[in-house]
């Protein structure tokens, strides 16, 4: 790379700067101004985005106005009909509500159980690493696997959960977990509770940054552990709560595997979320135009949440 080569490639701003301090300053001689380097370094990323996001959205837009299967042949133009059908479908409405309800439930669990577990782990307990690993494990192993094992435990006749309840003399609590809508919701709630590993991790990371001396002085003033958790640490970790809330809500739009491998949306689509709804419309029903319309609606919601997140992030930093 010679200076003459690069100097022709610098941006206009760079040229102006060069003229002002002719070939003397560091910047004047260096190739450190934009130019084709941007293309070189950003090119691969933009190519990926171009194909799998922008081109994808184009395809979604096109397909969403058609009645077509997975072969993408013999498409029939139906205009906006798919959007109308999707928005009017009670199962889609329910899947959207479920996604949000499950997300809010996860947020609630993360802010309570997740918070308290992380605080306890930070309070000088023995075997802390073991506990920490155990709490994180269900969130890190493939969900297809975890949810499958969990749903086998829910089997009505011989599943571990009903067996356990009967052995404890609580047989009346035994449920048709995957057949009854209410029980299925409870089952999903338990399963979602298993995935609070990430919030625990965020809290653990951030509580380590808390100034030890303020905790110490509160202890000397006679504050109990619980008071310190509740009155001092909970408000102190405000930015962590925001990280937790945003990441959990984003995660709820990606909870496809959790639902697909536990209830599968049963009974009758009552526990479907947007992910399983789109998956079934695409691969189960082969209604691809319809699935594309649903995808666009979900994408718009996800992007709105993303914008909120970016704004919150910028404010925080």
């Amino acid at each position: 790379m010679t200076t003459t080569e690069t100097s022709t490639l610098v941006t206009r701003a760079g040229e102006r700067r060069q003229r002002r301090s002719p070939a003397r300053g560091v910047r004047g001689r260096s190739p450190f101004r934009g130019g084709w380097y941007v293309v070189l370094f950003l090119g691969p990323l933009l190519l990926f985005y171009g194909v799998y996001f922008l081109y994808s959205f184009g395809i979604l837009g096109m397909v969403s106005t058609e009645r077509v299967g997975l072969t993408f042949r013999n498409a029939v133009d139906v205009g906006m009909q798919n959007f109308v059908l999707v928005l009017e479908d009670p199962t889609f409405q329910r899947s959207l509500i479920n996604t949000i309800v499950f997300g809010l439930f996860s947020v609630l669990v993360a802010l309570t159980l997740g918070f308290i577990l992380a605080m306890m782990l930070a309070s000088g307990v023995r075997m802390r690493r073991l506990f920490y690993t155990v709490f994180l494990l269900p969130s890190l192993i493939p969900m297809s696997l975890f949810a499958t094992v969990f749903s086998r435990m829910l089997e009505t006749r011989d599943g571990a959960i009903n067996d356990g309840l009967r052995n404890l003399g609580l047989g009346f609590l035994a449920q048709d977990w995957l057949g009854d809508p209410t029980a299925a919701y409870v089952a999903i709630g338990i399963l979602l509770t298993y995935t609070i590993g990430l919030p625990i991790m965020y809290y653990t990371t951030d509580v380590a940054q808390v100034n030890a001396s303020i905790v110490e002085s509160a202890t000397l003033d006679g504050a109990s552990v619980w008071q310190i958790y509740r009155i001092m640490l909970f408000p102190l970790l405000r930015t962590t709560h925001i990280t937790v809330i945003l990441s959990v809500i984003l995660g709820s739009f990606r909870a496809f595997d959790i639902i697909y491998f536990s209830t599968g949306g049963q009974p009758g689509g009552r526990t479907d979320i947007t992910g399983t709804y789109i998956y079934k419309a695409t691969l189960g029903l082969d209604r691809v135009g319809y699935a594309a319309a649903a995808s666009i609606i979900v994408l718009i919601i996800a992007l709105i949440i993303s914008v909120v997140q970016i704004i919150v992030r910028r404010k925080a930093s």
Binding site: G275, Y279, L283
Partner: protein, 284 residues
């Protein structure tokens, strides 16, 4: 560099709390109960896998083909895709993060936030186009065909993580490199990459883990049993087992085995995975 400190948060000293005996008992009691509840499904799976037929079940499912799927082969397939995914994410992510951190150009910040906007895209919402694109480019039944859409969903996170780290690199180092007449390629390779080794390891560990978790893209794009991944096999092998207790035990043995690759990564790279996740602060 505050971020360096957060990397080993789990090992740092505990809060200087002086808890009463009763509080200690309550804390331990709660942790043990929740810990057991969290471990229960895993323990249950292992128990069931040896309930009928004993430890031999593992050998049986390892040597058998299940609906045309062999479990050792799924490990290999998962590993190939995970490594491709990690490679793509680290290389493309590092290049882009460098541009956003070191090369001033017009519209840089808007473009950066534009890139981050896609942090939240759910995999299912690009299922239809990925299907179409994979058909057009002949990517069905190829490992790379799965790694590519996985990578595009991980890249926003990679750019976020690596740019944050690169912004922490003192600019004097770069000024020195400029005096040496190093080009951007030189600075990238000799300054940025070595100083980002930690985050790159974290990112690679996370990428491997996320790829091992992925069920969606393999299940849609890989139809040949010889290409099935471990996460995908959870579903494909299900019907290979009959309803007898012995077969049911073998199914559990297969499930436990399919979890082994992810478990190995998690346990050996636990520190990389957790510090990468907490530095990124988003994505599940």
């Amino acid at each position: 560099m505050a971020r360096m400190k957060t990397q080993h948060a789990a090992d740092e000293e505990a809060l200087p709390l002086r808890s009463r005996r009763i509080d200690k008992i309550l804390i331990y009691g709660f942790l043990v109960i929740i810990g057991l509840a969290f471990a229960a499904p895993l323990i249950n799976a292992v128990q069931m896998s040896v309930a009928v037929g004993g430890i031999g079940n593992y050998w049986a499912v390892l040597t058998r083909t299940l609906n045309g799927v062999s479990i050792p082969q799924t490990f290999l397939n998962s590993a190939i895709i995970a490594l491709m995914h990690a490679g793509l994410v680290c290389v493309i992510g590092a290049l882009a993060a460098y541009a956003f951190s070191f090369i001033p150009f017009r519209g840089r910040e808007p473009l950066y936030y534009g890139v981050l906007l896609f942090l939240a895209v759910p995999a299912t919402s690009i299922l239809v186009p990925v299907y179409f694109i994979s058909g057009t480019l002949g990517l069905f039944n190829t490992h790379i065909g799965v790694a590519l859409p996985e990578a595009v969903l991980t890249l926003p996170f990679a750019v976020l993580l690596l740019r944050n780290r690169m912004d922490d690199i003192p600019r004097q180092l770069v000024e020195a490199a400029i005096l040496d007449r190093a080009s951007h390629i030189g600075v990238f390779w000799h300054v940025a990459v070595p100083l980002c080794r930690g985050p790159l390891f974290n990112l690679a560990a996370l990428s491997v883990m996320w790829s091992l978790q992925d069920f969606l893209f393999p299940s849609v794009l890989l139809r040949s049993p010889a290409l099935t991944t471990a996460a995908q096999a959870v579903q494909t092998i299900r019907s290979a087992f009959g309803p007898t207790p012995a077969e049911s035990s073998q199914y559990y043995a297969a499930l436990v085995l399919l979890g082994v690759p992810a478990l190995v990564i998690i346990l050996f790279a636990f520190k990389y995975v957790t510090s990468g996740l907490s530095a990124g602060g988003v994505k599940e």
